[in-house]
């Protein structure tokens, strides 16, 4: 009796080995996948989000090119740009999709140019893109009054300056784009490629002489400081002092600018409610 029991037990030894081997193999695979998920996937996602940021930066550069061309044509035509919101998820693993926002912010920028007795103010809107990254640093891209700005709050830098010229060392011409959004078509949030349609409306010219003071109200004062500190202004021999605040930029010229001409170009932009 005892011998038969013992025989039964020993005859099942090979079955146990198979199970042990399978368990060990599964453990190995799980360890491998775990290392992948915790170490490499976040880095891949970060790279993907950074790549997406570069892609949006390129699209905003094209957007600036579009509004520059519209202002030069001066004809009531409409040109379209595409902005991609959100980055794709990783294949197979299906993780890492992000969602961004694109909006047209009204009256977000104001410039006041003044001399001893007179002043002129202009208020314009911004086209603002904000990212919602999960691994890469969040960035904001803004087309403001014809200037392309990149911001990683609280700092900002100038990527593309507005159209301007300086003649006779003291006469300044500055082109500002007043971008007006349509109600109901000035905000979109999510994932996908969205159409931004831009149309030239008209242009008005304002001139003010012997300018001594420029004040700007904006969310990105450092970027505008970069513009007014650019070599074109510095090499024109103008002497000035500049104060950069939280949301303001103040410039005081020691010798007045001869003639400050501001061309305000009205552009109507609308975000399409459908996506491609």
């Amino acid at each position: 009796m005892k011998n038969s029991k013992k025989r039964k037990l020993t005859s099942h030894n090979s079955g146990v080995v198979g199970i042990v081997a399978t368990v060990l193999l599964i453990g190995l695979i799980i360890t491998f996948v775990g290392i992948l998920q915790t170490v490499h996937v976040p880095n891949w996602l970060k790279q993907k989000e950074a790549q997406h940021m570069n892609e949006v930066q390129t699209q905003f550069t094209q957007l600036k090119y579009t509004v520059d061309m519209l202002s030069l044509f001066g004809e009531p035509v409409s040109l379209t740009n595409y902005i991609t919101l959100g980055s794709e998820e990783l294949p197979i693993l299906n993780i890492g999709r992000t969602y961004d926002t694109l909006e047209i912010l009204s009256d977000n920028f104001m410039i006041t140019v003044s001399n001893a007795t007179d002043s002129f103010s202009s208020t314009t809107s911004d086209i603002l893109y904000s990212s919602k990254n999960s691994h890469f640093v969040d960035q904001v891209l803004c087309l403001e009054a014809g200037t392309l700005i990149l911001s990683q709050p609280p700092s900002s830098i100038l990527l593309g300056q507005p159209l301007f010229s300086i003649t006779n060392f003291t006469n300044v011409s500055l082109w500002l784009y007043n971008i007006a959004g349509l109600e109901g078509k000035s905000f979109v949030s999510g994932y996908g490629t969205y159409v931004l349609s831009n149309e030239y409306i008209n242009r008005t010219t304002h001139s003010i002489t012997e300018v001594t003071h420029i004040n700007i109200t904006t969310e990105f004062p450092e970027a505008w400081a970069d513009f007014f500190n650019s070599s074109a202004f510095v090499n024109s021999g103008l002497s000035y002092s500049m104060t950069v605040g939280n949301e303001t930029l103040d410039i005081e010229y020691n010798i007045s600018l001869g003639n400050f001409i501001i061309e305000v170009i009205d552009i109507r932009s609308q975000l399409a409610i459908w996506k491609y």
């Binding site: 640093v137 990683q152 060392f169 012997e210 021999g237």
Partner: protein, 508 residues
């Protein structure tokens, strides 16, 4: 029994063999995957390198590395710079501003600025190669080349002694070339041409040689940052024949405030000054246009008293006769109408070109009272919504643009007569005369660029003296300039590369 025992032992051996084989297989599998992980994923794994964009550029001979987006990195990052045969290694921490050092990170928008100009040999190289290596984790962040284009900042200053020289006597010009930049500049060549009529006596210079025939001062020795080269040129003052046409536009206020007796002073003043050949050239180098403004809305507000005429020995009689018959235009001061008509008349002249010298003189006794907009009819537009003073400024700016006025040569001046309101005087000085800033004369300035002046006459009986002084100053003024024409490094700040002086030679 023996057979069963044998079977049992055999079965156990099989199980052991299988177990061993499985364990061996697993061990091999683990080694295989570990090898893959090591070779392809660089195990043992540290945290991945930062995703960052840094741009390098050369600004004013400083290497500027700017964080243009992405994650922040430690200021312990090492920056390798090589140019020519020079190899440098610096730390970002040492060349970033104090504010940025607070958090120990090189963050978005912050600049590392390395002064390349402390290495004079960098001017000989074609490009700078830059590599930035992050400290933790150690990884190369950026490798790029920056093309070298050294920039200089030279300035010129010219002075004269005495400031009011007498005809036929010596005068000494001092020309100074100053290096305001941060690099050595060689091969500087400067142009300084004495006017025809001046007799060259001699020169002395700290370096280089001056050729009076060509007007060039060259072979100037290398000028180090903060240092200068100086040249003195002595000449005998002579009568100078102008080399360009001067188009003078006079705008006269003929409105109701001008009395008949005032008109006599105006006519007498013009005739006396213009008839004097030593004051007003009659060799065809001056073209005179006179426009008058006044009148009431709905009537004529401006007219041409003297159409654009070159003043010569042949035309002088006719010009004087016209000036002697100037009459009033009772009404209001339509100053902007006068500016617009006068400007369009001058530009329509057959001798007009922007390169001519343009002098505009406004003679009035008060601020503008009527508005004229730029609609081509030169008639008052009282319902335009533009106030008369703004309309005058707009018309004045229109004239500046049409004449393409330049501050080294052209000007707008005002002779206010019998002015009682100080605000009006300030308005003329700050908003009408050109170039700005305006000033009150006399005395007349002798520096360049020019500045528009307001020459006040207390009453109309002073007008003949004032207009005589005006023509003497404006038409006998000699402009002598010096400018840099060549240097070893590009100077983008051209505004200070030219300077000059104004001389009004006095009669002996």
């Amino acid at each position: 029994m023996k057979k069963n025992k044998y079977k049992y032992v055999t079965a156990q051996s099989h199980a052991l063999i299988e177990l061993s084989a499985t364990l061996l297989l697993l061990t091999l599998t683990v080694i295989f995957f570990a090898a893959i992980a090591y070779f392809f994923f660089s195990a043992p794994q540290t945290s991945p390198g930062p995703v960052i964009t840094i741009t390098g550029k050369l600004i004013d001979n400083n290497l500027v590395l700017e964080h243009m987006g992405g994650e922040a990195i430690s200021l312990n990052a090492t920056i390798g710079i090589s140019f020519g045969s020079t190899r440098l290694q610096i730390q970002a921490y040492d060349y970033i501003d104090t504010e940025a050092k607070k958090d120990g990170l090189w963050s978005f928008g912050e600049h590392v600025i390395y002064p390349m100009y402390i290495h004079p040999e960098y001017l000989e190289a074609q490009q700078i190669e830059v590599m930035i290596i992050n400290s933790d984790p150690a990884s190369s962040i950026m490798f790029s080349s920056v093309l070298i284009e050294p920039l200089s900042d030279l300035s010129v200053q010219v002075s004269i002694d005495p400031e009011s020289p007498i005809m036929g006597t010596p005068v000494t010009f001092t020309i100074t070339v100053l290096n305001n930049g941060n690099i050595n500049v060689s091969g500087v060549k400067l142009r300084f041409q004495l006017p025809v009529g001046f007799t060259f006596v001699g020169y002395s210079a700290t370096s280089g040689s001056y050729d009076n025939n060509t007007g060039f001062w060259e072979n100037i020795a290398m000028i180090h940052p903060g240092e200068s080269a100086v040249m003195n040129v002595t000449a005998i003052v002579g009568r100078v024949r102008p080399d360009e046409i001067t188009q003078i536009l006079i705008l006269i206020d003929g409105s109701g405030s001008i009395k008949k007796k005032d008109l006599d002073f105006i006519r007498n003043g013009f005739v006396t000054a213009i008839a004097n050949e030593s004051i007003f050239p009659q060799d065809g180098f001056v073209e005179l246009t006179i426009a008058e403004f006044g009148g009431n809305p709905g009537f004529l507000n401006t007219k041409i008293v003297l159409n654009s005429t070159k003043v010569t020995n042949e035309t002088i009689a006719s010009v004087l006769s016209t000036l002697d018959s100037i009459d009033t235009m009772p009404g209001l001061a339509a100053t902007s109408c006068g500016f617009l008509l006068g400007c369009d008349t001058v530009t329509a002249s057959s001798v007009f070109t922007p390169s001519n010298r343009h002098v505009t003189l406004l003679i009035t006794d008060g601020k503008a009272d009527l508005t004229c907009i730029i609609d081509g009819d030169y008639l008052a537009d009282p319902g335009s919504g533009v106030n008369p003073e703004n309309a005058t400024v707009i018309a004045r700016n229109y004239l500046i643009d049409e004449f393409e006025m330049n501050p080294m040569d052209d000007e707008i001046d005002v002779i206010p007569v019998h002015l009682t309101n100080y605000d009006t005087f300030v308005w003329f000085k700050d908003e009408i005369v050109w170039p700005q800033p305006g000033y009150c004369a006399p005395p007349m300035r002798t520096e360049l660029p020019l500045q528009g002046f307001v020459y006040n006459a207390t009453d109309w009986d002073q007008f003949p003296i004032v207009i005589n002084n005006f023509f003497t100053t404006v038409l006998n003024r000699i402009t002598i300039t010096a400018d840099i024409v060549q240097a070893s490094a590009i100077d983008p700040k051209v505004i200070n590369n030219i300077d000059g002086v104004l001389i009004i030679p006095q009669s002996p």
